[in-house]
C-alpha cells in the first residue's frame, strides 16, 4: 500500500473541515483568519476621521466631497496562521506493543490536521524526533505538496527513546502550535514552553493521545514496566486496579485543567476513536 493510499481516506474524510484561529492573527500575509490589522481590504468595516499621519490614499474622496470632512475607510484584514505540529515520538507512543495504536493515531492526527490547516491556506509544518532521536523540523509551508511531505516524514518515523519535547518548541516561529503527545514525558517543561508561546501572542493546541489499554489494562496479574523508565516496574493486580484507574483519571483531569488554564486548547483522544473524528474535535476546540 502506498503512502498516499494509507492516508487518502483520511484526507477525504477531513475535507471541508476548517480550523479557525482562536483569536485575531497579527500576521501580515493575507489569509483566512481575522487579522489584528485593519487595512485596505475590500471588506469595508467603518469610517474614521482622518488624523494627521494617515495615508492620504485611504481618504474617501467621495464622502469628503459630500460632507466636506475627511474620512478614511477602515476594513478588517485577513491573515494566515502558520501552524507547526509537534509530534511526540517517544517510546511510550509505541503502545500497545502489538498494534501501536497510539502512534498510528498520532500519525493520522498529524496528517489530518496538516491537511485541514493547509486547506485553510495556512502554512503548515511538523517538528519531531527522527528514529535516531535527532530533532527534525519541517518549517511551515503553503506549497501544494506540503501535506504529502509531512505524511512522508511522519510515516517514515518510528517511536522510541525518551527525548524531551520542550526543546523542540523553543526554535519554532509558528503562531499556532499543535502538540500531539501522551504527555508522559517532560509534560511540565512542555507546558512551560507552551505558556510562553501563548503569552507572546501565539495559540496552542494539545491533543492528549491515550490508549484504550491504558484506561483499561488487561484484567490479569501484570508486571507493568514503563517503556521510557525501565526501572519503574510495578505489579498491577486486581486489588490495585481501582486505585490505578483513580490515579490515572485524576492525573488526566489535572493535566487538562492546567493546560486549559495556560490558555491552550486541550483535547483528549483515545485510540479507539476514528482519526477523522478526532481531527474534527481538535480543529473545533479552537472555536470560541
Amino acid at each position: 500500500m502506498s503512502e498516499a493510499a494509507s492516508y487518502g481516506a483520511l484526507l477525504d474524510a477531513v475535507r471541508g473541515v476548517h480550523w479557525p484561529a482562536r483569536r485575531a492573527v497579527s500576521s501580515l500575509l493575507p489569509g483566512a483568519h481575522h487579522s489584528t490589522l485593519r487595512g485596505t481590504s475590500a471588506e469595508f468595516t467603518e469610517y474614521r476621521l482622518y488624523r494627521q499621519g494617515d495615508d492620504p490614499r485611504r481618504v474617501d474622496w467621495r464622502l469628503l466631497a459630500r460632507s466636506d470632512r475627511a474620512y478614511i475607510r477602515l476594513a478588517n484584514d485577513r491573515a494566515v496562521l502558520p501552524t507547526t505540529i509537534v509530534l511526540d515520538t517517544s517510546a511510550s507512543m509505541a503502545f500497545p506493543v502489538a498494534t501501536r495504536d497510539k502512534w498510528r493515531l498520532a500519525q493520522e492526527l498529524t496528517i489530518g490536521l496538516a491537511a485541514v490547516a493547509h486547506a485553510d491556506g495556512d502554512p503548515v509544518g511538523v517538528a519531531l524526533h527522527d528514529a535516531r532521536g535527532k530533532a527534525m523540523n519541517l518549517p511551515p509551508r503553503t506549497r501544494r505538496d506540503v501535506v504529502a511531505e509531512i505524511a512522508r516524514v511522519v510515516l517514515a518515523d518510528q517511536p522510541g527513546g525518551s527525548e524531551p519535547l520542550a526543546p523542540l518548541l523553543r526554535g519554532l516561529r509558528s503562531a499556532r502550535l499543535v502538540v500531539l503527545s501522551d504527555l508522559l514525558g517532560d509534560e511540565e517543561d512542555l507546558l512551560r514552553a507552551v505558556r510562553a508561546h501563548i503569552v507572546s501572542g501565539g495559540e496552542a493546541h494539545v491533543a492528549h493521545v491515550i490508549a484504550r489499554e491504558e484506561l483499561d489494562p488487561p484484567r490479569r496479574t501484570l508486571l507493568a514496566a514503563d517503556p521510557e523508565q525501565g526501572f519503574v516496574q510495578r505489579m498491577l493486580v486486581e486489588s490495585s486496579r481501582r486505585e490505578y484507574e483513580e490515579r490515572f483519571a485524576w492525573w488526566r483531569d489535572d493535566v487538562a485543567r492546567r493546560w486549559r488554564a495556560a490558555g491552550a486548547s486541550y483535547t483528549e483522544v483515545v485510540t479507539d476513536e476514528p482519526a477523522p473524528r478526532a481531527v474534527r474535535r481538535v480543529a473545533a476546540s479552537g472555536e470560541r
Binding site: 508486571l223 510495578r234 498491577l236 486505585e243 490505578y244 490515572f248
Partner: protein, 423 residues
Amino acid sequence: MMSWVLPSALAIGAVACVALVAVHFIARDRPVAEPLPTARFVPDRRIHARTTSFALTDLLLLVLRIAAVAAIGLGVAGPTIAGGRGRVARIVLVDRSRGVLSVAEARDSVRSMGAADVLIAFDSAARTLTTPRSLDSVEKTGAVGSLSAAFAAANAAAGSVASRADSIEVLLVSPATDEEVDAATPAIRAAWPGRVRLLRVHADTTSTPVGGGLELPRTSNDPVVAGLSLVPSGELQSSVRLVRGRLSAADTAWGREAGRVLVHWPASDSVADWPKRATIDAIGGVASGTGALVARLPRLWAVNGRAIARWADGEPAAVERAFGAGCVRDVAVLVDPASDVTLRAPFRDFARALLGPCGGTRAFGSADSVTLSRLAGTGPLAAARLFRVAASESSRFTPWLLLLGAGLLLAELGLRRTSKVAA
C-alpha cells in the same frame, strides 16, 4: 548381599529427591514485565505474584541436584556387602548350677553340637567363656540356676556376633528345673527375638533330701526351743540340730555330715562371737522366705553369709554358710526369755526357712510343658541385624559417595552460575 548401615537414610533421601522435583517444577518467580506507559500510576506496593511453571527447564540442573542428593543419601545409608551370607552364629548357654546332675554331660552335649561362637556358663549368674577350651574348666556349683541370667547374657553377647552372621541361634543346655525359672524369666526370654534350641540334660534329683529330724537342746524355759518343738517333724527335709549356746566340737563334727543343718541360735549375747553392730538397736520385725515375725527384737550382731532371714530394713538377720558337706546357720535374733511370741503360728512359719535343707528348698522337678514351650519359642532364628549397632558399623563406600555428592553439588553451582551469566 548388600545391606545398609542406616536404611532409614534411603527413605529420607528418596523423599528429598521427590521434594526436589516438586520444588523444581513448582517455581515461584516474578512474572515477565510488560510495557505499560502509565505504569507510574500503579500503586507502588510490595505485591508477590505467584506463578506456577511446569516447564521442563533446567533439566540438567535438576538431574545434578537429584544425583547429588541421591549420592549423599546413599552415603549416609552406608551400603555394606555382607560377607556371612546365610551364616548362623551360635550362642551356647551351659548350665552349671546345683540342679545339673553332671556338668560333664552338659559339656559333651555342647561338643556334640559343634563349634559355638559364644559360650556362656551360668548358675545364678552368667559368665562368658573366652575360649572353647574353657568349657573343660566348667564345674558344677551349689548355686541356684537362673535362666533369666542366662538369657540376659545371651542378649548382651548377641551384639558381638551380629556383624558376622545373618541369624543367631541360642542353644540352652540345661535341665530347666522349676527353681531356675523365676518371675522375670518369661519377660527376659521374650526379649530374645527368635526361637531357642533347648537341649535338656539330667537334673540332680539324687541330692534332693528325702526326710529328716530336729534335735533340740534339753533345756527348760527356752522360748525358741518351745516354739520349734511345735513344728511338725514331717515338714523337715534335713537333719537339723539347734544349738542355743556356743558351738561344741561335737556339734561341728555333727554338722559336717552331708544333709545336716546346724542352726546356731544364741540364747544370749554372751554365747556368740559374731561381730557386733556399730549401733545396737531394736527393730519391729524379721522375715524369712516362709514367714514374718512381728515383735520388738534387739539387734546386736552383723552376720555375713547367704541371707536366710532379714530384718525389717533388709539387713541379714540369719545367714547360712557351708560347713563340710552340710551347713551352719547363724541366727542373730535374740528372743526375750519371757516372751510367748515363739508359741504362736507366725513364729513357726518364720522358722521353717531356718530348718530347711542347705541351700534352701530345692525344686529340681522339670518346669511345666507350657514354660518349656515358651522357653523354646517358635518361628525363625533371631535376625542378626536386630543386634547390630548402627553407630559401630561403617561402610567403606560412604566417604566416596559423600565425596561424589559434594562434587555434584559443586558442578550444580557452577552450572547455575554459568546459566545466570548467559542470561
